[in-house]
Amino acid sequence: MKFLNALLRLSAHVTENGLLMADSAMRSIQQNLGKLSGTEAPAPPTRPPMEGPADLDSATSDFSNRAFRILQSARFESGSVVETSRELFNAAMKSYSYEKNFRDWMLFPLQLPLSFGTLATQQGLRTLYAARSLSPDRVPGFLAYVTEIFSDLHVYLSLQYKERLEKLTQRVSERPDDHNARLDLGRCLIKCGRYTEAAFELSIAARDPGLRRRALYEATVANCRAGNYREAVEAGTAAVLMDPLNERAQYWLWLATRKAGGYPADFPQEFRMELKAGQHPSTVQFEDVARAIGLDKTAGGRGTAVFDYDGDGYLDVVVASAHGGCSLYHNNGDGTFTDVSVGSGLDACVNVFGIIAGDYNNDGVPDLYITRLGFFGGECELLRNNGDGTFTNVTRQAGLECWGPAFSAAWVDYDCDGHLDLFVANNLGGLFDRKNPNRLFHNNGNGTFTEVADQAGLKTLYPTIGCAWGDYNNDGFPDLFVSNGIAPAQLYRNNGDGTFTDVSHPAGFDDPCIGSVACWCDYDNDGWLDLVQFVWSPPEDTIYTLRTGHGPKNSFPLRIYHNNRDGTFTCRTKDLGVDGCWGTMSASVGDFNNDGYLDLFLGNGDPQMDRTEPPIILENDGNGRFNNVTFAAGLPFTGKGHGANMADLAGDGRLHLIIASGGLYPGDLLTVAVFRPKTVPGNYLNVRLAGTRSNRDAIGARLELRAGGRAQYRSVSGGTGFGCLPYEQHFGLADFTRVDSLHIRWPSGLEQELSDLPINTTIRITEGSARWELVYPAERTVSNQGISAAEALTQNSSNTTPEVPS
C-alpha cells in the first residue's frame, strides 16, 4: 500500500512537471509568435469587456465556457445536432470577433491550438492539484461541484436565470415526461428562492424511478428551506431509506427533524444523525444579538469591515452583499446601530465581495476599497471617505482601475514609507479561464497609485483566494502569504527594497490544498508570527466531522503553520488537536475569551443550495490545543458565512463574532448574525494606534504586551479574509490586574515602550507620544478590578516617562 501511494505520488509529480514544462514551452512559442505578429501580451484589463474578449487567449476561454454551456443544455434537445452545431458556430463567431490585423489572421491557425493548449495545461494542473488536495473518493464530487458552480454562477449573477427558468418550464410543458428537465427546473427554482414551487416540481420528478433518489433529496432541501419541515422529513426519510449512503440527505433530514420535532418513530436508528462536534466545554457563552443591536440585514452576505468611519471613536460596521448594495451601520455609542447606508454612496455599490478599510490619504478618516465577483469579473473601486458620512468613488483619479475576478484585497505599507499600498488577489473568472494576475499598487503619496507587481517580483502562479501580510521574520517589513484556490500556497519574503523573493519552497509550503483565506497570528505567544491557512472541505467531510467530532481519515483540515524562527514553517494542525473539516470561506482570529491566547472563528459553507454549515469557533486553551467549543458556546447549527469578523462593538471587552451570511445564488438569502459573549470573560485592554510618520492606521505595527509574566503579540493587519478586522488590538488579560508594559514597533521603525497602562478600557496611542488617551469617556468604562480607567487617567497625566522623539 505504501509502495502504491509512493508510486501515485511520484506519478502525480511527473504529471505536474510535465504539465508545467508543456505550459512554459507553449507559452514561449506563443510569445515568439506574438512578436512576429507584432502583438504584445495583453495588459490586465482595466474595464469590463463590453465588446467581448479583446485577445486570443481571452477569446479561447470565453468560447470554451460558452461551448460548455451549450453542450450542457443540448442534452435536453436530443436529435438537434444541427442546432447545437449552429449555436457552437455562433458562439465561436462572438468569442473571436475581436479586431485582428492581417498578420494576426496569418498566424491565427498556429496561435489557436497553442491558446487551447495553454488553457488545457492550466486546467490540467488545477485538476491534478484538486486530486492531491482531496481524498480520492471526494474528487469526482468536487469536480462536479466546481463545474456546476463555475458554469452556473454567471447565469445567476447576470440575472439570466429568467431565460433558464423559461427554457426549462417550456421544455417541461412540451414534454411532461422529461423528468430530467423537471429535476433541473426544480433545482433552478431552489437557486432562485422559489422553494415551494421547486418542491412541487421535484415531487413529480420523483415519480421517475431513475431520478427518484436525487429528486427526493432535492425535495428535502426545498421543503426545509421553505419552512415545510413536516414535508421535508417525509421526503428526507424516503431519500435516506432509498440511498442510505447519501450523507447529505441524512444531514438535511436531521436539520428538518430538529424543527419538526424529531425522527419518525419507525426510522432506523443507524441512519439517524447525532451531533458530536463542537461539544467541548466553552469558557464563553454567546447569544445572537444581531436583531437587538440592529445589524440583522438579510442579504447574500460577503465581506464585513469594522472601522470608525466618522471619527467619533465608536466602531462602525459595513457589510457587503453579493446582490445588493453595501450597508453602512453607524454605532450609536452603546453598541447598537443605525442603518445609514442610504445616501452614503455605499448603498449604490452592488455585487461587492471583499471590503477593506484603510486611510490611503492619511487624512484621519478611513477609506474603503472593494472587490467584486471573484468568480466572474468585476470592477474594484476605491471609495474615499469624505468625513461627512458619504463616500466618493475615486478609482479613476487614483489610477486604480482594474477589472477581474477579485476575491480579497489588503492594505499594506510594504515599503514602510508611511503611505498605504494595496494588494488585490484575483481568482478565476469562469470554468475555463486563465489565472488572472494579482496586483500590487504602490501608493505614490499624492492620492495616486502605480501598479508594481511585476517590478516587485510578485508572480501569479495560481488563481488566488486569500492574502495575508505579516512580518514573519521580524525584520520590520511585512511579507506576503498568498492562499491559492486549488494549488500550493506561496510565501513572498519582503527584501526591504520594494522587491520580494518567493520563498515558498524553502519555507515549506509545497503541498497543494483548496485554500481559502489566511491569517497571520502568534498563537503560542513566542514573538514570531505563525500562520493559519483556512481550507475548503467538501460537504461530506463536514457532515462526517459534525457527526463524529473528527475529520475523516484521509481529509485535509485547515493548516496551522508554526514559525520555526529560521524562515521555515511546520504544519502543526494535528498536534494542536485540530482535525475537523469545514468548508471555510472566511475566518478571523482574536482572543474572544480574554485568556491571552488567540482563538479562531470560521465562517463556512459554499455556494451550493444544499450546503448549509455552522460557523465554527476553535478556542485556544494556551496549552497547545485548539478546542471546538462551537455548540457548547451556544452557536447555531446552520449558516453560510462570509465576512467572519471579531470586534468589541460595545467597547466593553466583549469581542462580538460578526458573520455576514448568505450565498451567491439569489435564493440563498440569510441574515447577518452577531454573537456576543453573555458576560465579559476576563480583563482586557483594547489598544488603538495612530501613526504620524507611519501610515495613519499603523497597519503593520507590532505590539508586545506583558502582563502577569506573560507576553502577547499582535500585528495590525490591513485586511483579513473578505473584509478587515478593526485596527483596534484586543488583548485578553484573564485575571491579571495589571499590564506591565506595552512595546510597540511602528511601521516607520520607531520603537517605544509604555508602562502604567490601565485595564478594562480602550486606549489610543499616538506614534512618538509616551502618553495614551482614553477612546471612550471614562465613566462608561466598566472596571472589573485593578487600575480602573479613571484612576489610570490620573496616573497617566503625571506620567513621567520621557517623550519619545518623533
Binding site: 469590463p48 469587456p49 463590453m50 465588446e51 467581448g52 470565453d62 465556457n65 460558452r66 454551456r69 462572438k94 454567471h154 447565469v155 449573477l157 447576470s158 440575472l159 439570466q160 436565470y161 429568467k162 431565460e163 433558464r164 427558468l165 432562485c192 428562492g193 422559489r194 422553494y195 415551494t196 421553505a226 419552512g227 415545510n228 424543527k259 440585514k297 438579510t298 442579504a299 447574500g300 452583499s321 446582490h323 445588493g324 448594495g325 450597508s327 442603518d339 447606508s341 442610504v342 445616501g343 448603498d347 449604490a348 452592488v350 455585487n351 465577483l373 466572474f376 468585476g378 470592477e379 439569489p666 435564493g667 438569502l669 441574515t671
Partner: protein, 170 residues
C-alpha cells in the same frame, strides 16, 4: 418623497399625486419582472387593492434593460393586476435611493415617508421565524399609531449593474 411622472405599461402617463387622490396614502414598490424575489409577492400585490382600499399601490419597474414590451408580456403571463410604471432610465429609483427589487415605500397623502424597506424578512409565512415588515407599518398608519419599525434593509435583485449589459454568455 419626490413626485414622479412615468408611463404605465398601457402608455398613459401618471404621476404619484394622481395615485394619492382620494386615498389616505400609497405603497410604492420598486419591482422587476425578471426579479425572482418579486415573483413571491405576485399574490400579495394582486390582492393589495382589495385588502387595503384606503391605499393605492403602484409598482415601478426600473431595472436596467427591461423593456416595456417585456414588462407587458410578463404582467400578462403572470396575471398581474396592479399598476406598473416604467422607469426606463432608472432615474426614479435613483431619486428614491433604491438599488434592489423588491423595495417598498409607505407614504401618506402628503407624500411623507412612513416606512421603507423590505416587505418581509424573506422567510415564508409558515416559517416560525417569519416577520412581516410592511403590513405592521400599514396597520399602524391606518389605525393612527406611530410606525414602530420605520426602515428595514432591502435585499433582492439589483436594479442597475454593468454586468447585465455585458455580452450574454447564453
Amino acid at each position: 418623497m419626490p413626485d414622479f411622472s412615468l408611463p404605465l405599461l398601457s402608455g398613459a402617463t401618471r404621476n404619484l399625486a394622481s395615485f394619492l387622490e382620494g386615498k389616505k396614502g400609497a405603497v410604492v414598490v420598486f419591482w422587476s419582472g425578471v426579479c425572482t424575489h418579486c415573483v413571491r409577492y405576485d399574490d400579495y400585490l394582486n390582492r393589495f387593492d382589495s385588502d387595503h382600499p384606503e391605499l393605492s399601490l403602484v409598482a415601478i419597474a426600473s431595472r436596467q434593460g427591461e423593456g416595456a414590451e417585456q414588462l407587458r408580456s410578463t404582467a400578462a403571463g403572470r396575471g398581474l393586476r396592479f399598476p406598473i410604471l416604467h422607469d426606463a432610465d432608472s432615474k426614479v429609483a435613483e431619486q428614491w435611493y433604491t438599488q434592489q427589487t423588491p423595495r417598498s415605500f409607505l407614504i401618506d397623502a402628503a407624500r411623507v415617508l412612513l416606512y421603507r424597506g423590505a416587505i418581509d424578512n424573506f422567510k415564508f409565512p409558515q416559517d416560525p421565524d417569519y416577520l412581516a415588515y410592511l403590513e405592521p407599518a400599514i396597520d399602524a398608519f391606518l389605525s393612527g399609531r406611530p410606525v414602530a419599525r420605520k426602515e428595514t434593509p432591502s435585499f433582492g435583485c439589483a436594479i442597475r449593474s454593468v454586468y447585465y449589459i455585458l455580452p450574454k454568455p447564453l
